[in-house]
């Protein structure tokens, strides 16, 4: 006797992933097309074990070196803007090249290729993002923020804010305040 089976490959793959991840007690979210997001930190041992388990089925974890490096660039920039006060006088190109151990030219090209924006623009975006956060917290004045983020003057920060977002810092503050009032009314 012969029978014929119709395989559902996607279902099989997802089931396999599910079993292996549950065995290793890894918390995860399946994003589709073989992409998985870990919802909590996973140790290297577990990752290796997962890779071994998948190897039995002719599958493996792909680590795209380019995307990983771009993520590192972003993390370094965010850390530089938001946390690190010590490097105030170091140029960001030098800082990134030293931290990541690649030439700035290489980092810069790679970044533009993957993220559709330049490192310079990304740094500005992050600084403005930090400014927005500080403005909405109402803790610092714009002058203090400009000083904290190493702008030469409050006018320089205002101009960059306006160029990046199209609105002035004070308009931004007004809009966010009104928005909060509105959502409180609706509650």
């Amino acid at each position: 006797m012969k029978i014929f089976i119709k395989f559902d490959f996607t279902a099989i793959c997802n089931k396999l992933l599910e079993e292996k991840l549950n065995e290793l007690e890894i918390k995860y979210k399946v994003l589709g097309f073989g992409e998985i997001e870990f919802t909590e930190k996973v140790s290297q041992e577990k990752l290796d074990a997962l890779n071994d388990a998948l190897n039995e089925y002719g599958s493996e974890i792909v680590e795209n070196q380019k995307s990983i490096l771009v993520q590192k660039i972003k993390d370094t920039i965010i850390d530089m803007v938001f946390n690190d006060d010590t490097n105030i006088n170091v140029k960001s190109s030098v800082y990134l090249a030293e931290k990541l151990d690649h030439s700035y030219g290489y980092l810069s090209n790679l970044f533009s290729e993957v993220t559709f924006t330049s490192i310079e623009n990304f740094i500005i975006l992050q600084k403005i993002e930090y400014t927005k956060q500080l403005i909405t917290n109402n803790e610092l004045t714009l002058t203090e923020i400009a000083f904290k983020l190493n702008y030469s003057s409050v006018a320089h920060l205002s101009t960059q804010f306006k160029n990046t977002t199209g609105i002035t810092p004070s308009a931004f503050q007004r809009i966010i305040t009104k928005r909060r009032e509105l959502s409180n009314e609706n509650k």
Binding site: I78, T115, F116, T117, L125, E129, K132, T165, I175, R179
Partner: protein, 148 residues
């Protein structure tokens, strides 16, 4: 490198504007998929369908027959399912009142429709690129305001 298309919806009753809008995206570096609707009712009917694919960015014309852009904005902001959609107002008006009101109501982007095609491409590319940074770098969407 980019694996998923950015899904974009435009609701605008002007046929020419819809056409220019779609063409402008053809030449962008970021891969996009564009759908258009002729008015606010058509748009909301689509969005409210349970398994409809939700856009990453929604462009709303303010003056549309049947249901205006502002009404759509209001309805969208009430619905938790739509919270990840970035909303761009796309209007011929540049009145400060419209701009501030729609921002307060929850719009992320306000675009005054540019007059020439080159400018339009530049503006749309800018919106999609910045939105992409918000999408991929975990920036706080509540603080995403952009006026062009």
């Amino acid at each position: 490198m980019q694996e998923e298309d950015v899904f974009i919806i435009l609701a605008d009753d002007d046929e020419d504007d819809r056409l220019f809008f779609e063409e402008a995206f053809d030449e962008l570096k970021i891969n996009t998929k564009v759908a258009t609707f002729n008015d606010g009712v058509e748009l909301m009917d689509y969005l409210n369908k349970e398994n409809s694919l939700l856009p990453n960015i929604l462009f709303l014309d303010l003056n549309m027959p049947k249901k205006s852009g502002k009404q759509c904005l209001q309805e969208i902001k009430k619905e938790a399912r739509f919270k990840d959609i970035a909303i761009a107002i796309y209007s011929t008006s540049a009145s400060e009142e419209d701009i501030e009101n729609t921002f307060v109501m929850g719009a992320n982007v306000y675009i005054k429709k540019p007059n020439d095609f080159k400018q339009l491409k530049k503006v749309l590319s800018n919106v999609v690129t910045i939105n992409w940074q918000y999408h991929t770098s975990g920036l706080n969407k509540d603080n995403f305001l952009l006026r062009l």
